[in-house]
């Protein structure tokens, strides 16, 4: 195994970790996600009526 490979793998894991954290922040903070849940709730209410 070339010496760069473990280093590259470690970098990739760190970057993937940041990407996951970034996606998590989006999931928690995005107005789009929050409003989708709200819209689903409203639609369910309308259908129930």
């Amino acid at each position: 195994m070339p010496p760069e490979q473990p280093q590259e793998s470690r970098r990739a894991q760190i970057l993937l970790g940041i990407a996951c954290a970034s996606a998590f922040v989006w999931l928690v903070h995005s107005f789009a996600v929050r409003n989708l849940l709200l819209a689903i709730e409203q639609t369910a209410h309308k259908l129930a009526r």
């Binding site: 990739a12 970057l15 993937l16 996951c20 922040v25 989006w26 999931l27 107005f31 789009a32 989708l36």
Partner: protein
Amino acid sequence: MAAGLYLLASACSAWLASDFFRTVSTRMVRYLAAMVLWAAVVIVPVHVAAALQMAGWISAIRLWPLAAAQLLILMLSVLGSSRLVTAHHDEGLTRSDQPVPLGTEENRKDSFPAYLWVCTGVLAASYAVFYANLASSYPTGWDALAYHLPVALRWIQTGTMSIPTYGAWQYALPGNAEIGMMLLLSTGRQWLVPSVNLFAALTMTGAVYLIGRRVTRRREAAMAAAIVALSLPIVEFQTFSAYVDLFGTAFLLASLALFLYRREPAREKTTAFNGPTRSSARMLLLSGLACGLAVGTKPVFYVYAAVLCLGVAVTLIWESGRHWRASLAGISLFALAVLVPSLFWFGRGFVQTHNPVFPLQVKVGSHVLFQGFAPSEITRNEFSDKFVRRRAEWLIYPWTEWFRNPGDQLIPYSEGSGLGAAFAAFVPLGVFWAGYQAARGRGAPILRILIPVGLGLLALWWIGLQRMPRFGLPLWLLGCVFAVPLFELLDRSATRGFRFLLVACVVATCTISLFVPLRELAARAGSHAWRRCDVYVYPHFFDELPRGAGVLNDTGIEEANFSLAGEKLTNRVVADFEVQGPITSQFLQEHRIDFIAEAVSEKDNAPGMHKIVQVLAPTVEVWSEVKGAKRWRVLKVETSQQQHAASAP
């Protein structure tokens, strides 16, 4: 029929002409070449006809003569193509003799990995639902209905593309995309109009993929960039609307992609520059054409195109070294090609208003060089504040996607806003990683140039383009390309986690975007609102007016500029922005108005409503109806009064 023939013949011509690019590089380059040529072959003959009409050589732009001209172009393309085939045959050149470009053909046997197919499938399903929603409805979107479609319809109805004397900026913008819309409106199927943007989305995908391929040897990474680009809600919503930002962006990126592929990648490292070869000259020409298509789409693209043209000129001078004649020839060729699909708009502005870039005002300091509208009069500076609570939030916009008035749908995604999960997860990080690699002298050399240029353009977007998310579309898509080195690293070394995250992000974004068409479809199915007047919410009265009836939009609803044209688009609508003061008898007579449409909201300060203009002329109410929580009134202009006004001194 004539429009269908026109589009079909131009598509065949473009495909045959793209054969000239078969010898240059990959199949994708030929595909992109065909797209650019098709757009040019559709648009340029209309420019010529419009110029002839304005010069008084023909009375009006008519579709049948244009279709005949298109058939002539097709015949010439067939002749040219057969000569090319003969030439190839004589040279004994076959496809297997072609040089193999950088990392393109060697992987042809391998299919893309499953996660990319899953993402493609999710995107395809999502786009299919948007398409089904559109096919069962009519084009929507504020800008589209307020002025893009009224412009296209005005060209059909009047047979001229000249700027009206009262100089409303909406009728004076360059309109390459609206030419496609005009042709599709002529087919009578209004839902086909956004196909212009479907075509643009395909062009954009090809361009992003090709630019990505110049950054990486792994085509999976370039494909991932194209997938993230297609997952952007702005892109998805614009694909099924009659906005024009995606159209201009697609051709701007196509121009960059074709410029990057102007020389054989396989030969690039081994051959010295000896001036433009025939194939590189063709690519340069095509790149210029694509840039010109973007320039003729919207003034926003002047900024991006100016930077691209400067980049092209500097690159050609740098490459040619002391061969300054070769670089001058290349620059001239590119500039000429840029002008082919854009010169008409500059010429029209100059001839009619003495300002080639009308409706934009040009001033140096306080001295006005060319009269027109200041950019803030067209798009207000505060407009962008509806996407963030405070301006500092722009730094974290991909993670907030806030929207001041999300409307009944509640979803903040639209033609003008939303970047999605995949963008938030990968692109800012990808730009950082690419910048880090470039700073360390690693990675593709092209990124060392593109990243600083992209950051400079970001500053320009902030200052000069009013921070409108859709005006920055070329930057967000370039951001997807900048993320290619990150995709490459993650796909190679963090395979499973990366693949799962990408699929999850695409699914999440598509789910949110999908909510809008699904709810619209369900609402229409529930209320059986399939008619045009139900979709656009206006009285059916306007669908039954005699052909050519003049209708003034005094409803305070800007979208009604298109909807009041009626089911068969036979009403001649005078748009709300054409009304400069009180509606007088003289105004009604000058514009040959038969009916005035008014709408008053049942609620005070209803969103999307402007104050209606006072009518100072005798009229009779002929229709009254409550529709969409608004009281609609139709006033018929009294004919005797019109005649009286006409005879008055």
